[in-house]
C-alpha cells in the first residue's frame, strides 16, 4: 500500500489542506514507502495522521468517516484475486507469471467523501496506477472524471457511500492492516475511534428503554466479557469463536496502547529467539553465537538483519524463559482462543498459582527434546469436550526443538516463519484485551558478562522489566516495524516515535524502517517528527511541511535538499529555526563578533574564548579578528621577534 494524496476540506485545525505523498525515484528496489510530516507544535501533524486513521477505521467498519475527505492510495493486488481483470481469473499464480512476469498489479484506489449526502460518496479502484503528482490533477480527476454519477457504470467496481454496508468486496480495497502509534496522548485518538450509535437504530420506544443495558462511556466488549464473568458468573459470557483465517474487523485498524509496545517487544524477543535457537541445539553453537555477538558489539559492526541489530543495541543475547501471567486461570476454557491457551499451559515447564485465581505459566525458550503434544497432554487434565477434541488435532508445535520455536509455531501455525510475528503479537494482544492475560515477561541474558558482587565474571540475566525505560521504548517502538514485515498492503502511522531517544538512535530510525519493512513489504509508513537528524536520511519530496499562517494550516513542499544534508541546514530550512546554534550562544557570540570591541590588549582573552567555542562560522569570524589583532601588534613593534 502506498499513500498518494489526501485532501481535507475541514478537519480540526486543517482547513483545505491538500497533501501529495511522493517518493524519490533514486531509491530503487523498495516495495514500501516512507513519508514524513513535519511542522511546529500545533501545526496539525497529529491531526493529519488521525484523519487518515479515521478514514480507514470507519471504512473497515463499513461506515463513512464523519468529515469530508478525498483520499487516494495504491494497493498491491494479487492477480489471482483481481476481480477487475477477467484475463487472470481462474489461473494459477505460475500460469499468470508465464503470461506476464509479475504476480501483482498496483491499482490506485480513490475514496471521495464530499460534504453532501452519503450517496455522493464513493470508493473506486482505478484500472491501474494513476500518474498524478500534483494536488490539482488529483482533484480535477476526482471531481470531473469520477464524481459525476453517469460515469459509475464505466468503472469496473464502484461502491457508493450509501451502500457500504454488507459489501463483502470492500475489504479487498482497503489496507490489510493499519497500525497507529503515538508517543503522546492517546485520548484524542481513542475518542475518534469509538463508534457513535447509528442514527437509524436509535429509537425512543419506551418499551426498549432499559437502564440495565447502559454502561459507562467508552465501554468495550472485552470489558463486558470480563465484567460479566466477575459480577454474574451464572450468565454465560462465552465469546463466539471467530473464523480461522479472517482477522476480526477491529484488528484491521489497531490503535496501539502503551502496553502494546511491550507486547510487541516481547513478541519480537521470542520470535527472534526461535529463529536463532532452532538451528543451534549444541552448546558449542550457542557459545560461538555469543562470541559473534560480542565481536559485533565491541567492534561496532553494523548487522544487516534489523531485529538482530536492534537487539545488539540493547546487549541482548536471548530470552531464556517467557512467563505468561494469566488473569483467570480457572476460566480460560471460556475464552474463544482456549485451544492455544491449553497448549501453552501444557508446554509450560511450570504453572504457578498466584492469589485470586491468577497463574504464571513459565516456558523455557531454550533447546529441549523435540516437542510431542501427546506427551505434553499427560500433564494437563482435560476438562471439557473442546479440550478432548484438541487432543486429537494435529499440532504445529510437534517436533519443535526449542521452546521459542514451539511458541512461534503455536501462534503462527504452518505459515512462513517470517510472517508469524504478527500472529504471535495479535494473539497475545487479544488475550490481554479480553482480560485473560495480564502480562507477559521474559528473563533475558545479556551478551556481555559483568563482575558480580564477589567481583567474579558472571552472566547478566535480568527480567525484561529491569531494562531501562529507553531500552524498552526503543525495542517496543521498533518492534512495531518488525510486526508489519511481510504484511502486504499495510499502513503504519507513527506520531513522533523518536521522543525519549538519544540522537544516535534517532538517526537510526529511518535506516531501521528501511531494513525492517520497506525493502520487501508493500507498506506505507507515515511518520510525524520533530527531529532534523532523522530527516538527513530522507529525500525532500518525501517530506510534507505543515505551516501555520494566521491560524490556518497549510501544507508546503520542502524545497531544500535534505537527503545527506547537514542536520543544521534541515533545522534552518525545514523547521524554520532562525539559527543553527542555540539562541543563548547566538546572542552571546553576536555581541562578540564586532572587531571594534576587541582592543589589542584583550588578545589573550580572545584566544581563550576561541578555545571554548565549537567549530562553525562564529569561531571562524573570531579567528579572523584575532589574526587582525596580531597583525596590528606586529606592525606596532617592528623589531620584536615573531610571536608564535
Amino acid at each position: 500500500m502506498r499513500l498518494r494524496y489526501i485532501y481535507l476540506p475541514d478537519y480540526g485545525p486543517l482547513k483545505k489542506v491538500a497533501v501529495v505523498f511522493q517518493q524519490n525515484p533514486h531509491i530503487e528496489n523498495r516495495a514500501g514507502a516512507v513519508n514524513f510530516v513535519v511542522g511546529l507544535n500545533g501545526s496539525g501533524k497529529s491531526s493529519l495522521l488521525r484523519a487518515i486513521y479515521d478514514v480507514f477505521h470507519s471504512l473497515s467498519l463499513e461506515k463513512l468517516p464523519r468529515f469530508p475527505v478525498t483520499l487516494a492510495y495504491d494497493i498491491k493486488v494479487d492477480k489471482r484475486w483481481d476481480e477487475l481483470d477477467e484475463r487472470w481469473r481462474g489461473l494459477s499464480r505460475d500460469e499468470i507469471e508465464k503470461v506476464n512476469d509479475t504476480k501483482f498489479v498496483q491499482r490506485t484506489v480513490i475514496f471521495h467523501r464530499p460534504a453532501g449526502p452519503a450517496s455522493d460518496c464513493f470508493l473506486v479502484p482505478a484500472a491501474d496506477c494513476l500518474p498524478f503528482s500534483k494536488a490539482d490533477e488529483w482533484q480535477e480527476y476526482v471531481e470531473h472524471a469520477l464524481a459525476p454519477k453517469g460515469n459509475a457504470d464505466s468503472l469496473g467496481y464502484y461502491v457508493a457511500g450509501d451502500r457500504l454496508k454488507g459489501d463483502g468486496n470492500l475489504r479487498n480495497w482497503l489496507p490489510s492492516r493499519v497500525l497507529a502509534y503515538t508517543s503522546g496522548d492517546l485520548k484524542p485518538w481513542q475518542n475518534l475511534t469509538y463508534p457513535s450509535y447509528p442514527t437509524d437504530e436509535l429509537n425512543d420506544d419506551p418499551q426498549e428503554f432499559d437502564r440495565e443495558l447502559e454502561r459507562p462511556a467508552g465501554w468495550r466488549p472485552e470489558q463486558e466479557y470480563f465484567d460479566r464473568r466477575v459480577t454474574r458468573p451464572d450468565v454465560s459470557a462465552d465469546v463466539p469463536p471467530r473464523g480461522e483465517n479472517e482477522p476480526p474487523v477491529d484488528e484491521r485498524c489497531l490503535l496501539l496502547r502503551p502496553e502494546d509496545t511491550r507486547l510487541a517487544a516481547i513478541s519480537v524477543g521470542i520470535w527472534q529467539a526461535a529463529h536463532e535457537l532452532e538451528s543451534r541445539s549444541e552448546s558449542w553453537q550457542r557459545d560461538a553465537f555469543r562470541k559473534e555477538r560480542i565481536n559485533e558489539i565491541d567492534k561496532k559492526i553494523q548487522v544487516e538483519e534489523p531485529a538482530r541489530r536492534l537487539l545488539n543495541e540493547l546487549n541482548w543475547l536471548w530470552p531464556t524463559h517467557a512467563a505468561f501471567h494469566f488473569a483467570d486461570y480457572g476460566q480460560y476454557q471460556r475464552h474463544p482462543d482456549a485451544g492455544r491457551c491449553f497448549w501453552l499451559l501444557a508446554l509450560a515447564d511450570k504453572v504457578v498459582r498466584y492469589p485470586l485465581d491468577e497463574a504464571l505459566a513459565v516456558v523455557r525458550l531454550g533447546n529441549c527434546p523435540p516437542v510431542r503434544p501427546s506427551e505434553l497432554v499427560g500433564e494437563m487434565p482435560l476438562e471439557s469436550q473442546a479440550e478432548l477434541n484438541l487432543r486429537y488435532t494435529a499440532n504445529p508445535m510437534t517436533n519443535a526443538h526449542c521452546g521459542a520455536e514451539a511458541i512461534r509455531s503455536l501462534f503462527g501455525g504452518e505459515a512462513d516463519p517470517d510472517e508469524t510475528l504478527w500472529s504471535l503479537f495479535s494473539a497475545l494482544r487479544s488475550w490481554q484485551s479480553f482480560g485473560l492475560l495480564k502480562d507477559v515477561n521474559l528473563t533475558v541474558q545479556r551478551v556481555h558478562q559483568l563482575p558480580n558482587a564477589e567481583g567474579e565474571m558472571d552472566d547478566q540475566l535480568l527480567s525484561y522489566g529491569s531494562f531501562s525505560d529507553g531500552e524498552q521504548m526503543l525495542l517496543g517502538r521498533m518492534a512495531l516495524l518488525l510486526l508489519l514485515r511481510k504484511q502486504e498492503n499495510s499502513l503504519l502511522l507513527l506520531d513522533e516515535p523518536e521522543t525519549h531517544f538519544n540522537d544516535a538512535w534517532k538517526r537510526q530510525i529511518i535506516d531501521l524502517v528501511d531494513d525492517c519493512i520497506l525493502k520487501d513489504t508493500s507498506t506505507q509508513v507515515l511518520v510525524s517528527t520533530h527531529t532534523s537528524l532523522a530527516l538527513t536520511d530522507v529525500f525532500s519530496c518525501e517530506i510534507t511541511r505543515l505551516v501555520k499562517e494566521r491560524g490556518v494550516t497549510k501544507a508546503q513542499p520542502v524545497l531544500h535538499p535534505t537527503f545527506g544534508a547537514d542536520p543544521g541546514r534541515i533545522l534552518l530550512h525545514v523547521f524554520g529555526a532562525p539559527d543553527i546554534i542555540g539562541a543563548r550562544a547566538a546572542e552571546f557570540l553576536r555581541s562578540k563578533l564586532d572587531p571594534a570591541k576587541w582592543p589589542p590588549k584583550d588578545r589573550e582573552k580572545l584566544r581563550l574564548l576561541i578555545d571554548e567555542i565549537g567549530s562553525g562560522w562564529p569561531r571562524a569570524k573570531l579567528m579572523e579578528i584575532l589574526e587582525q589583532l596580531e597583525e596590528t601588534q606586529r606592525g606596532d613593534m617592528p623589531n620584536a621577534p615573531y610571536d608564535s
Binding site: 531464556t320 524463559h321 512467563a323 486461570y329 499451559l345 515447564d349 511450570k350 504453572v351 504457578v352 498459582r353 498466584y354 492469589p355 497463574a359 504464571l360 513459565v362 523455557r364 531454550g366 500433564e379 494437563m380 487434565p381 476438562e383 515477561n441 521474559l442 528473563t443 541474558q445 558480580n452 558482587a453 564477589e454 567481583g455 567474579e456 558472571d458 552472566d459 547478566q460 540475566l461 535480568l462 527480567s463 525484561y464 522489566g465 529491569s466
Partner: protein, 286 residues
C-alpha cells in the same frame, strides 16, 4: 640409529638407569657420551631429535643411495647446527618431561590396577577365593546360619520387594536442579535461590521475605545489597521459582497492602491442583 630408511635415520631413545650394563649395541646405533663440561640435558637432546626441523636437517645431510640405505657420518653429525637453549631452560624442560612420564606410568599402572581389582572381585563373589576356607569350616558356618535364621524368625522382619534407591538417586535429591525453570540462572542468582530455600520456612525464618530482609540476614557478597537482591528476586519471580504477593498490614497508618515474596508450595502447582480436582470429581468426592 644412523642408518636404514629415511624415517629411522636419527631416531633417538633415552636409555634409563635400569638398563643392563652389559648391553651390546650394533655399529649403526650410536650412544651419546657427554663430556664433563656438557651444558645440556639428555632429555633435551632426545627431544631435539624428535623435532621436525632437526629431522629435516638430518635428512638433508644423510647420504647413501636407495630408500633403505640412508646413512650419516659421525663427522657430519658433529657439524650440524642445532637450537641450543641455556642450561636452566633445558633443565626445566627435562623436569617437566619426567613429571609427564611419571604421570603416564601412573595412569598405565592404574589401568592394570582396575583390571586386577575387577578380577579379584569376580573371584571373591563367585566364592572361589574362599573355597578352601569354607570347606575347612563348613560345620561352623552351618551352625551360624541356623542361629541367624532363628533370630530373624523371632524378630519378625518383613521382606519387601521394593527396589532400593541407588546411591545416584539418593544423591540426585540433594543435587540442585538445573533444568526447566531452574536453568540459565547466573551463579549469583542460583546461590541466592539456594540460600532462600535453606533459610525461608525454617525454624528461624517465616514464610515471607523481602529483599531488605535478605540483604540484612544473608552472609557473603550480597550482604547489604538490597538492590542487587531485588533485581535477582524479579528474575526468580518471572521464573516461577518464588511468588510475589501483596499482603495486608496490621499497621493502621501505613499502606494497607505491601509487597513480599514466598516460596511456592505443593498446592501452588496449578496443573497438579487441577488434576487433583478432576480426580475428586471422578471418584465422586466433592
Amino acid at each position: 640409529m644412523f642408518v636404514r630408511t629415511a624415517e629411522l635415520v636419527g631416531a633417538t631413545a633415552l636409555v634409563g638407569e635400569d638398563c643392563p650394563s652389559n648391553l651390546v649395541l650394533p655399529d649403526k646405533i650410536w650412544r651419546f657420551v657427554w663430556k664433563d663440561d656438557f651444558k645440556g640435558t639428555p632429555e633435551f637432546v632426545w627431544a631435539l631429535f624428535q623435532e621436525r626441523a632437526t629431522r629435516q636437517a638430518l635428512g638433508n645431510i644423510a647420504t647413501g643411495t636407495g630408500g633403505s640405505m640412508k646413512n650419516i657420518s659421525m663427522k657430519k653429525l658433529m657439524q650440524m647446527r642445532v637450537v641450543w637453549p641455556p642450561r636452566e631452560l633445558q633443565e626445566t624442560f627435562s623436569k617437566a618431561l619426567r613429571v609427564l612420564a611419571d604421570l603416564r606410568n601412573a595412569v598405565e599402572g592404574d589401568k592394570s590396577f582396575s583390571v586386577l581389582q575387577a578380577s579379584l572381585s569376580a573371584h571373591a563373589f563367585s566364592g572361589q577365593l574362599t573355597a578352601d576356607w569354607r570347606e575347612a569350616y563348613a560345620d561352623k558356618l552351618a551352625l551360624e546360619a541356623r542361629e541367624r535364621d532363628d533370630a530373624l524368625k523371632n524378630a519378625g522382619p518383613i521382606f519387601s520387594r521394593s527396589r532400593r534407591a541407588t546411591i545416584q538417586e539418593i544423591e540426585g535429591v540433594f543435587e540442585p536442579r538445573t533444568d526447566g525453570i531452574y536453568s540459565d540462572l547466573n551463579r549469583e542468582q542460583f546461590g541466592l535461590f539456594e540460600e532462600i530455600e535453606r533459610m525461608v520456612g525454617g525454624v528461624n525464618y517465616g514464610r515471607y521475605f523481602t529483599a531488605e530482609m535478605l540483604a540484612a540476614d544473608l552472609k557473603g557478597a550480597l550482604h547489604r545489597h538490597p538492590q542487587a537482591i531485588e533485581s535477582h528476586l524479579a528474575v526468580l519471580a518471572v521464573r516461577g521459582l518464588i511468588i510475589p504477593v501483596s499482603r495486608p498490614r496490621n499497621d493502621s497508618v501505613g499502606d494497607r497492602f505491601a509487597a513480599c515474596y514466598r516460596l511456592p508450595l505443593k498446592e501452588d502447582d496449578a496443573r497438579a491442583e487441577r488434576l487433583e480436582r478432576q480426580r475428586k470429581l471422578a471418584v465422586g468426592d466433592f
